[in-house]
């Protein structure tokens, strides 16, 4: 089971800034371990953000994204109290969803 994300969403005017910190190894598949064997690729492939259940952003990620990635974006029309949910899915099929309310 993957560790939880940290999601902060702050409304300013008619927009909200969302900051997401994800806990993931993001192994590129290019590295070798101490024994010289390739460390298998393991990275987040799909990211989706939802505002009150409605999809507002999707992203396709690859192995170039850093370990424990940080994502920031703004959502138009998000008000205080709205729910922001972020889901990621990695190349092993593992997935995690976390939710936060806009403050």
């Amino acid at each position: 089971m993957a560790d939880p994300m940290r999601i902060r969403a702050q409304a300013a005017g008619d927009k909200a800034t969302v900051r997401v910190l994800m806990s993931h190894e993001m192994e590129s598949g290019q590295r070798k371990d101490a024994a010289g064997k390739t460390v298998p690729a393991w990275f987040i492939q799909e990211v989706e953000a939802k505002l009150n259940g409605k999809s507002v952003m999707t992203a396709e990620w690859g192995p170039a994204v850093s370990k424990n990635p940080f994502l920031q974006f703004t959502v138009k029309g998000a008000k205080a109290g709205d729910k922001i949910a972020v889901t990621w899915k990695d190349n092993k099929g593992e997935t995690r969803t976390d939710e936060a309310s806009v403050s």
Binding site: D3, R6, R19, L21, S23, S66, N68
Partner: protein, 267 residues
């Protein structure tokens, strides 16, 4: 004609000098880069994990660490970090945050302390240790270091730490002071704080535990100090060893009154 030429020359030199003033120093650029990283410090993830671990019932005794005494009474976390290392009457030893956690994990949870000491950094229970240290340090963020020097053992540890700091050895004939004994020096892009005196708010002892962006690892003070020895081509003094605790006392007492920024973020 000659007049205008002279004037424009003056104008040009004036321009050049303002450009020189506006030019950022390397240190300022590094500061800017760190400020950009600060917002999404992955140390937050370790902090959350540490808080869960503190409250979670674990180990053979199925107990949480909530009764752990970090020096300010059982279960008091806030402000404990900036007063460590200190002397503990129950163990009759000077302990830093991590060696104290080790005591609590053994006494409260029944975990095998000797086994944890032997575990390499970044593996198994050591990861939990780092997460706990990260959360505990975060609970004292912004507070000022105030280490006790009241007990004779604390004074002894300070003197021992000082001796170790200046002790040269190994194939490079290095001491801690070789790199950390002068002002305004750098190794590649990293500033080397002068740790023989108070380096100021959020520098040196006041900046660990920290997340290192380049290798994606969270390091607490024990790993920092042990790795300093590795860089000196010395063997590790060992996790929670008296040598590392003594160095912690020396650095901590020197940082008296400086604010802690831990958990920090490094390149």
């Amino acid at each position: 004609m000659r007049m205008t030429k002279a004037l424009s020359l003056i104008a040009l030199t004036a321009l050049a000098s303002t450009a020189a003033v506006a030019q950022k120093t390397a240190v300022q650029s590094i500061e800017e880069y760190r400020a950009m990283l600060q917002d999404g410090n992955p140390a937050d993830l370790f902090e959350a994990k540490g808080e869960d671990l503190w409250k979670q019932k674990r180990g053979p005794r199925n107990a949480s660490l909530e009764k752990c005494d970090l020096g300010k009474g059982p279960g008091v976390v806030k402000g404990a970090f900036v007063e460590l290392p200190r002397y503990f009457a129950d163990t009759r030893r000077v302990q830093d945050l991590e060696s104290r956690l080790l005591t609590c994990m053994e006494n409260l949870q029944g975990l095998d302390a000797a086994q944890i000491v032997k575990t390499p950094f970044g593996k198994g229970e050591q990861n939990n240790m780092t997460a706990l240290a990260t959360w505990i340090s975060a609970e004292s963020k912004g507070m000022k270091f105030n280490l006790s020097q009241a007990h004779p053992a604390e004074k002894t540890f300070y003197e021992v730490g000082k001796r170790l700091f200046f002790q040269r050895g190994g194939p490079h004939d290095f001491s801690c002071a070789s790199c950390h004994g002068q002002d305004n020096t750098r190794i590649r892009l990293q500033d080397l704080p002068n740790l023989t005196k108070n380096p100021g708010d959020g520098v040196g002892f006041a900046a660990w535990p920290a997340y290192r962006v380049s290798n994606g690892q969270m390091w607490a003070m024990q790993q920092r100090l042990n790795d300093c020895y590795r860089q000196q081509r010395f063997p590790y003094p060992g996790f929670a060893s008296d040598a590392t605790v003594a160095l912690g006392v020396y650095l901590g007492v020197n940082s008296q009154g400086s604010a802690s920024v831990a958990p920090a973020i490094k390149r």
